[in-house]
């Protein structure tokens, strides 16, 4: 029984790694369709990864060992997070290893090293990307912490598996004002942390409009492959958190194969729906000026604060 749990953990990691490029490709394909063109097929990112792993790495002569090690740290920390996020089964075998706070700080570990890797080659664009990325990450932190607080209040725990099982046990809590406000706040934070419009344009070529892209301008080959895969994995993780922490139905609570298959299908449907919503948002809005982003994140902070207060008062 316990062994099945650990096997499922590894299967979940593999599933996440497999789905991540597809999700990013799906969002890209939808946006292309909204731009009235055929666009690349949704499985294009898989081809991109295969190609990048076949290219050589060209490194700047100013870069140090940090530049070479950073992609592995970023990828490892993001994969570690997938061990903790309930994707197809809750609670996970390793649920006690980490809670939402651990997830947040592991993602911060990846961001920290990505920012340092942007500064390493000594380019102005890398420094700019690092500076902007850390600003957005720092200002998004309070919202995430308060959203965690409001979720933990109703579920009685910050461990993800327990939150999901509590919500499945009393579904009325998912439509409580606290939860809905927390969902809205976390949606805005998802757009900020995964580098989507209106905070950052993932498809831009103009360096002055880049945040995430600017830090990886010097990367190539297998390093770039690892970093891109990690950023798609981060998108998948955030979508999974939004989906399974707020709309948990479909997730398996036993190791029964039928339940697990249903859970995989439910996950794919939820990710596709969220991908569709993000594609619509990205088509509708224009990118915010960098110094307006704190206003957006401030609004999400207010939403999160309201979420906590209402969870408190309505307990």
């Amino acid at each position: 029984m316990i062994v099945t749990g650990y096997v499922l953990e590894i299967a979940q990691v593999a599933l996440a790694l497999l789905l991540a490029p597809g999700l990013a490709g799906f969002v890209r394909w939808l946006k292309a369709r909204f731009q009235n063109r055929r666009g690349a097929p949704p499985w294009q990112p898989y081809f991109e990864l295969r190609k990048l792993f076949g290219k050589e790495v060209v490194m700047s002569n100013n870069a140090s060992w940090l530049f070479r090690v950073a992609p592995y740290i970023i990828f490892a920390s993001t994969v570690t997070v997938t061990l903790l996020v309930p994707m197809i089964v809750a609670p996970l075998a390793l649920d006690g290893m980490g809670d939402l706070l651990m997830v947040v700080y592991l993602l911060l570990l990846g961001t920290f090293f990505l920012a340092l890797a942007g500064l390493d080659p000594g380019t102005a664009f890398g420094g700019m990307g690092a500076s902007r990325e850390m600003t957005v990450a720092a200002i998004a932190e309070p919202t995430i912490a308060l959203a965690i607080f409001s979720l933990a209040l109703s579920a009685g725990s910050t461990n993800l598996g327990r939150i999901v099982t509590q919500e499945l046990a009393n579904p009325a809590v998912t439509v409580s004002p606290g939860h809905l406000l927390a969902l809205a706040a976390l949606f805005i934070v998802t757009l900020a942390e995964t580098g989507r419009l209106p905070v950052d344009n993932p498809a831009t070529h103009l360096e002055l409009t880049m945040i995430h892209e600017a830090m990886i301008l010097e990367y190539s080959g297998r390093y770039l492959a690892l970093i891109e895969w990690a950023s798609w994995l981060k998108l998948t993780i955030f979508f999974t958190l939004l989906a399974n922490l707020f709309v948990p139905w479909g997730i398996a609570t036993t190791f029964d194969p039928a339940a697990l298959t249903l859970a995989v299908l439910a996950l794919i449907v939820k990710l596709a729906v969220l991908g569709g919503i993000v594609a619509v948002v990205e088509t509708r809005v224009a990118k915010l000026r960098l110094f307006r982003v704190p206003e957006l994140l401030g609004a999400s902070f207010v939403l999160a604060l309201l979420a906590v207060t209402s969870s408190f008062l309505l307990k």
Binding site: E48, E213, R284
Partner: protein, 174 residues
Amino acid sequence: MPALFKKIFQTGIVTEPLGPDEAEIIQLVGQVNQKTQRLLGRALAIREVDAGSCNGCEIEITGLTGPVYDSERFGIHFVASPRHADMLLVTGPVTRNMEVPLRKTYEATPDPKLVVAVGDCARTCGVFKSSYAVVGSVDKVIPVDVFIPGCPPEPADILRGILAALDRMPKKRI
């Protein structure tokens, strides 16, 4: 917002199908390495380099990413940094000031890579031939795989030239 999406759905997909190179415009310079073509065939990242052109070719190239010609359906997209690129799309007669930057861009691109030269200027220096400001055609500075003649060439021809380098030239209209 409903008005925007109503318009999107009313307009529909406007991408035009791409046919083969009937007018035999594309010029391949020798055989491209097959392993390279297999690696880059499905997902190509292009870095465009303006080595002194009049921007006529650039305007045609920007049409490539639009809805009508949609290079992305072939897995081709444009990138900002040559470190991310697999192919350099070079325009213009190489002017003296752009010779070193062009070489540096070529060095900055990781192997395996391809070079496609767009326009008459890139092939023969066009109307700027023997000017004091011009070094020569692109293949005098970096090795070129495909020439696309024209002043400027049509976006469809540019797309066909890129696909020819990848050995993915369409056999019929797709």
